[in-house]
């Protein structure tokens, strides 16, 4: 018997009477729905990157990673070595357009998944930048921009991980 059970008192009775569920005074769903964004199903996302690992030549992955890094003004982006392949990179670049040469090397289904993700990133960036242009000090918009940057960094990290995978471990050179 616990300490609490051994001392049934008015406090316990009052606690038992408390409602565990309380309805918010306003509908919170619209605010949630507007911030959900797209999320790739986990299996497809993992599958897409696994296929990338199987299909994407290391050099092409480096190009893609570099382009993504240049898309956002990441503080460490300048430290990245430019790709060996001759690519015209202008900053800011249109992400989806820039990685098209890489995407074309992917199987159709994988390419579709990756394109959805990249397209979403690009749309998010555009809408955030538009809003920030009108309201540059808005902390919510700044947070959203940080979040979008973090997502881009995540993609970049995935790509960089691919480039760091030795050819003997599955990359086709």
């Amino acid at each position: 018997m616990t300490e609490e059970q051994s001392q049934p008192d008015s406090l316990d009775r009052r606690i038992d009477a408390l409602r565990r569920e309380i309805t918010p005074q306003r509908d919170l769903w619209p605010g949630i729905a507007s911030r959900l964004g797209r999320r790739l199903p986990a299996r497809e996302e993992r599958s897409a990157f696994r296929r990338l690992n199987e299909w994407l030549p290391a050099g092409a992955a480096l190009v893609a990673g570099y382009l993504i890094a240049s898309w956002f003004p990441l503080p460490w982006a300048a430290e990245l070595s430019p790709p060996d392949i001759d690519v015209n990179v202008t900053s800011p670049v249109t992400l989806l357009t820039s990685v098209q040469p890489v995407l074309q090397q992917l199987p159709a289904k994988t390419r579709a998944v990756v394109e959805v993700e990249l397209s979403g990133l690009e749309q998010d960036r555009l809408s955030i930048e538009e809003a920030l242009a009108a309201d540059p000090n808005n902390p919510l918009l700044q947070e959203l921009r940080s979040s979008a940057e973090a997502r881009a960094v995540s993609v970049l990290a995935q790509m960089n991980r691919l480039t760091n995978t030795p050819a003997s471990e599955g990359l086709e050179m």
Binding site: L18, L28, I32, A33, A42
Partner: protein, 174 residues
């Protein structure tokens, strides 16, 4: 909502269905908001935490393996959101004291107790709400709040004593 429905909604949401996630939201929002309101003692902060908890749940849905119940999993995310919100408030150094929390607390049952809980010190309130109202064990609370279980037990005991004293005073005044 039966368990088959819930499981189906979770699977659909994991595949990207916002509609299924909205159903999960509908099934859990009142409990999550209740938790956030009692932990924060502030309706506006509780609303923010509730929204953030569901957004985080959506983002992490792929990590939900079903080893615990979905409600339990969501509960943990909500507790984390409350802790982060209160850390942000400390960092902001706004010094906001939620004097109006008691007035906005649920009014139908146990108003005195709700008021007394809202007036507990923050950490004691967190521990009391998680233990007494939502049934977490001391060990679970220790893990959730990053404390040792002895500290949790001590805070919980002191919170109970404080509430008893306060409620008795109010009873005497009645």
């Amino acid at each position: 909502m039966n368990s088959a429905d819930r499981d189906a909604w979770i699977r659909q949401a994991q595949r990207g269905s916002v509609a299924a996630f909205e159903r999960l939201y509908g099934a859990h929002v009142d409990r999550i908001y209740g938790l956030c309101l009692r932990m924060t003692a502030d309706p506006a902060t509780a609303e923010d935490c509730t929204q953030n908890a569901f957004i985080q749940a959506w983002r992490r849905l792929e990590q939900f393996q079903g080893r615990s119940g979905f409600g339990t999993w969501l509960h943990r995310i909500a507790v984390n959101e409350v802790l982060m919100a209160q850390r942000r408030q400390v960092l902001d150094s706004s010094g906001i004291v939620h004097e109006e929390a008691a007035a906005d607390a649920p009014t139908e049952v146990g108003l005195d107790l709700e008021t007394a809980i809202a007036e507990l010190p923050e950490q004691a309130r967190h521990i009391f709400v998680l233990r007494a109202v939502y049934g977490h064990t001391h060990e679970e609370i220790a893990e959730l709040l990053g404390l040792v279980s002895g500290t949790v037990r001590a805070h919980y005991h002191r919170a109970r004593q404080a509430l008893k004293e306060q409620l008795r005073l109010e009873d005497d005044n009645d």
